[in-house]
Symmetry: C2
Subunit: 340 residues, 2 copies
């Protein structure tokens, strides 16, 4: 493992976290010094990425591991309707890790930071007697009093989801079956291979919906908002529980990812529905919005060139249900209760 | 390992991070929501505590491990002249760790947070295929533009250190020799045992100088400030390097911890000096201040009932030196260059 001082020098050189953009002092002192505008609230969250739990080095190189480690935390800021601003990266590395590996790991984090508009301003490094451990902490901002929690959903609200669902779980399943990410730019010829590559990319390279989250927050378009990390069914249950309400989802409206449609037999629609309900690490946004905002949400989707799909409705009575082939079935964390 | 939901419930119950005190939203959503006053800058830093690298479970129970994991990060805020306000705790735990262990770990973090005036507002938990990994992130505040960096020391400034030095390295050495922390309240009879216990406590239960750091910041008493985590010689070298100056330290002024004086042979003064120069994880503050502030610093020390000792002077020419028995010797990261 390289010396901490070498790593800090490398990061310091790579970091654009100089004065300006709210950064009074970047990497290299005891702490970063930051400045935000009056009238803003701070959002503050962290996420762990642990080798063997959240990622495997035989599935993804260090750059992708670094990208995802930061992306998942940034997604939590999007899920509050905020704008990510500053990040710390704490990384524990086993002996034998090369400086090149460390550089690629941080390259991935810096790339995702730059593309999503935030700055890495510090962190910590350590040896690790186990595998690789990464903890990223992010400060985001939102307009004062305008953070969107999980608890504001109201009966009659429309339930929306950004993007599509199912690709991440499918990609994970393919990785566990032994499929691997192909070389970039080397597009496979047959449709099934292309679909597999798309699903694997989806799992390894999630794109948090930062622009959508920020717009939803700025325009006050949602009553409740969460990102899909555990799966639609589980995360909707979190929303419903915190908002003390229920919801009913229309299975036919679920935006199932194209690779899943391509690879899974169309004769088993219920498999696709289960996949969309349970696929975790999607990092799409799930939110509730009063019906009168529907035009503004459609306009936002067009401006962002991002599908935002109406999938159901918030209900007064508690419990989650899904309408499938005209039948209303209870929804659970593992999908829905299939009829015997 | 307990379920994450159980851990979150436990933390949520224990956390006093409800609305108020700048916390708009505490643990339980995608992110905490925080508010600071206009006119403040934010300080943002993190520190890793890794089993087998930073601590061993046979040396300290989970409560002490938790205390230190947060204390070391808080010390970085003190080292900027700031006030710690909010913390996140990300914890990766091996299988087989009991809920009681987790509770004690967080109890230690909550205790240190409450005693030092900050709130734990979130974090993350994960399984760990290796040992225990803890990463704590802290947001502190300071008056706008008044963070004290490592880079402002000026030739002629007096060099001060809070508290005393040497106890932490001595405690670590005793732990490695097989000595253990005794039962609280069970004071050993002989002086050597008492001294050993004091040194071990010093290593396992560091007390970051939060009140001193905050006062130094509020009153603008220091031109440069750092906490002693790597050892006086190394941390003074960081200050000197960032400030582009040198320093000369008077060995006879070094505040050597009493347990070290008690346990180490007085016929080897140079051993005590080496210990004070190299002992890491002390979490005392090392700072530089113009001579005209000496009365205010003496008054602050009296008010805080904290020794603050003048140990040397900042010099124009680069390089660190120590005056010992009338001789001026070069200081290195491993102490000073002994004469042959």
């Amino acid at each position: 493992m390289p010396y901490e001082s070498e790593i800090i020098e490398m990061i310091r050189g790579r970091s654009k976290a100089g004065p300006g953009f709210g950064i009074e002092l970047g990497i290299g002192d005891d702490s970063a010094v930051l400045r935000t505008d009056p009238g803003t609230d701070l959002l503050f969250c962290s996420d762990l990425s642990v080798e063997g739990v959240h990622f495997r080095t035989e599935w993804a190189g260090p750059e992708l591991i670094g990208r995802k480690a930061l992306a998942v935390t940034v997604s939590d800021i999007a899920a509050m309707g905020g704008e990510p601003k500053f990040a710390l990266a704490s990384v524990a590395l086993p002996h034998g890790v090369s400086m090149q590996f460390v550089e690629q790991l941080f390259l991935g984090m810096f790339d995702v930071a730059e593309s999503l508009g935030l700055s890495i301003v510090g962190g910590d490094t350590s040896a690790s007697p186990g595998g690789i451990f990464i903890d990223t902490s992010v400060i985001g901002i939102c307009r004062r009093g305008r953070a969107i929690t999980r608890s504001g959903a109201t009966p009659g609200d429309v339930v929306y989801v950004t993007g599509d669902l199912g690709g991440s779980a499918l990609g994970l399943s393919l990785l566990m079956q032994g499929f691997r990410l192909g070389v970039a730019g080397d597009e496979p010829a047959d449709q099934a291979s292309r679909a597999r590559q798309a699903a694997i990319r989806r799992h390894l390279m999630p794109a948090p919906q930062v622009r959508a989250g920020r717009l939803i927050g700025l325009e006050g378009l949602a009553t409740a908002l969460i990102d899909i990390s555990d799966g639609l069914a589980t995360d909707l249950a979190h929303l419903a529980q915190e908002s003390k309400c229920g919801a009913v989802i229309d299975a036919s409206l679920l935006p199932v990812a194209q690779p899943a449609r391509d690879l899974m037999s169309t004769s088993h629609t219920t498999d696709l529905v289960d996949l969309a309900l349970t696929s975790g690490e999607e990092y799409e946004l799930l939110f509730c919005s009063p019906p009168q905002h529907s035009v503004r949400i459609r306009d936002m989707a067009e401006n962002l060139e991002l599908p935002i799909t109406r999938i159901g409705e918030v209900t007064d009575e508690s419990g989650l249900f899904i309408v499938l082939d005209g039948k209303t079935l209870p929804m659970t964390a593992s999908g829905f209760e299939h009829e015997i």
